[in-house]
């Protein structure tokens, strides 16, 4: 990975001087990565309940599952994942020892295990979905601990074919339709903010599922991880993006006191549509949580709370995220309220929307 190092001192991911606050120490590797850069795992896989879960019913086999395919494009993190393997194996041994007491439970789960492969194969390595689309999901970056909050908007999901573009611009009478386009369409992305130019920027995706961002001569600028891509009214080059990047359109005008003068700050997720469907892991956790309430005699093998490191036990107030990670409510609360209704899972770094309609599916 290190050899095909990307270009440019203008790369917004690199620092030109020792930074006071690193905008992104992130994304060490900005080279357009061969695989659709998924930074989502971050070597956190081995921390999350995921592996601990799996280990209980896959005693003999090492975790050859998605831990690899989810691997990020950052060399440091990629390495970490390798390191993590050994740790995981060790932890598994421990987990296995513990789980021998809860056989009945793991037997149930074993039956459904093979389906996992089906779920995974729905999407290929690049993150292309089965219809040949790549996806982007934009969620407003909310931080209630800061006074300068950007424009609030409902999360936007768009899908495009390789080599296609999606334009990003201001909401006008002419593009009204785009504002109401269904999630997952290829419609332009529009925002009701006056600091966004009519033709502000665009997303592009190449054949490998690598996404790019370009400023299209916007007057108030496009920022990638806090760094402006081009001066006013000048087009920028195509900047490679990675999962989790923060994009800002324009700057607050008149202090952003009025909603329409607020800039748009959003976190981008790429090619993760697989994560939004119900998967085996979600089902298993759901089952385990049910057992947690009913069967208080058997020790629960639900993993510990990643924040306080204590076990999750009956009669404790819990919070379970849409990605099926669980913590004590008390432990996770600061993270929930910080960016409500968006929730950024500390275990798997999925962005979840806590205001999602509850009757949406089925």
């Amino acid at each position: 990975m290190l050899q095909n190092l990307g270009p440019s001192s203008s790369n917004p991911h690199s620092h030109s001087s020792p930074p006071t606050s690193t905008p992104t120490g992130t994304s060490p590797a900005q080279p357009p990565p061969p695989i659709g850069g998924r930074r989502s795992s971050f070597g956190l896989n081995f921390l999350s309940n995921f592996n601990a879960m799996r280990s209980n019913h896959q005693p003999a086999s090492p975790p050859t599952d998605n831990t690899h395919s989810f691997m990020s494009n950052s060399p440091t993190i990629a390495n970490l994942n390798n390191y993590a393997m050994s740790t995981t194996l060790h932890d598994e041994a421990v987990a296995n020892a513990q789980s021998s007491t809860t056989n009945s439970d793991s037997d149930n789960l074993q039956l459904s295990e093979p389906e996992t492969d089906l779920l995974e194969s729905e999407e290929d390595r690049n993150g292309m979905d089965k219809d040949g689309f790549f996806s982007v999901r934009l969620t407003p970056l909310i931080d209630h601990s800061s006074s300068a909050s950007g424009l609030y908007f409902s999360p936007v999901i768009r899908k495009i074919k390789p080599e296609a573009n999606i334009s990003i611009g201001r909401y006008t009478e002419k593009n009204k339709a785009a504002a109401h386009a269904p999630q997952g369409s290829s419609a332009p992305i529009v925002f009701k903010s006056k600091v966004v130019s009519r033709s502000h920027a665009l997303f592009q995706c190449n054949e490998d599922g690598q996404w790019f961002l370009k400023d299209c001569k916007s007057s108030s600028g496009t920022f990638l991880n806090h760094i402006r891509l081009s001066p006013a009214s000048q087009e920028s080059s195509l900047m490679p993006l990675v999962d989790g990047d923060i994009v800002q359109l324009g700057m607050d005008y008149r202090g952003g006191a009025e909603e329409v003068y607020r800039c748009v700050k959003m976190r981008c997720e790429f090619n993760k549509s697989w994560q939004r469907k119900v998967n085996q892991f979600n089902l298993e956790i759901h089952k385990k949580l049910k057992n947690l309430q009913i069967n208080t005699e058997e020790p629960s093998d639900l993993a510990e709370c990643a924040i306080c490191l204590n076990k999750i036990e009956p009669c404790q107030a819990l919070f379970i995220s849409p990605c099926s990670h669980a913590w004590h409510y008390k432990c996770i609360r600061p993270i929930i309220i910080k960016s409500y209704p968006q929730f950024y899972c500390p275990n798997c770094r999925t962005m979840c929307d806590l205001e999602t309609d509850l009757d949406e599916d089925e």
């Binding site: 930074p19 690193t22 120490g25 956190l44 921390l47 060399p75 924040i307």
Partner: protein, 154 residues
């Protein structure tokens, strides 16, 4: 001083009971939030054979914010500056409270194995690295012998 959160006690215990190969972290008796750390250079890197000393401090709002970590041993690396400060995403914006002391130290060890001159902290080193990687690696080896091995032979 306020009582030490249980999480820190737990992490400390686990660092002892289940140590990470090639990494040690020992809290000071007088300040259990301050750790003396050593990391072995990864074997396939120019830092192989070196033992690097670091300091790690857990701020008051840990684990809601990242530990502060700094190299004490001089090291020639594009992402580590003269003062030992480290440029690593998980120590800054990408910190997650699900990470721990052990995972952060593993990340740092991984950073030694994968220097990234395109996201530099030490600009001079990064430039040398980009201009002539072979030579830069030689210098890194030399520094490892001079600063990270000398200690061992004392």
């Amino acid at each position: 001083m306020a009582a030490l959160p249980k999480r820190i006690i737990k992490e400390t215990e686990r660092l002892v009971s289940d140590p990470v190969p090639g990494i040690t972290a020992t809290p000071l008796e007088e300040n259990l939030r301050y750790f003396e750390v050593t990391i072995d250079g990864p074997s396939s890197s120019p830092y192989a054979g070196g033992v690097f000393q670091l300091e790690l401090y857990l701020p008051d709002d840990y684990p809601m914010c990242a530990p502060k970590v700094r190299f004490l041993t001089k090291i020639y690396h594009p992402n580590i500056d003269k003062l030992g400060r480290i440029c690593l995403d998980v120590l800054k914006d990408n910190w997650s409270p699900a990470l721990q002391i052990r995972t952060i130290l593993l990340s740092i060890q991984a950073l030694l194995g994968a220097p990234n001159p395109d996201d530099p902290l030490a600009n001079d080193v990064a430039e040398d690295w980009k201009k002539d990687e072979k030579k830069a690696i030689e210098v890194a080896k030399e520094w490892t012998v001079r600063f990270a091995k000398a200690k061992l032979e004392e």
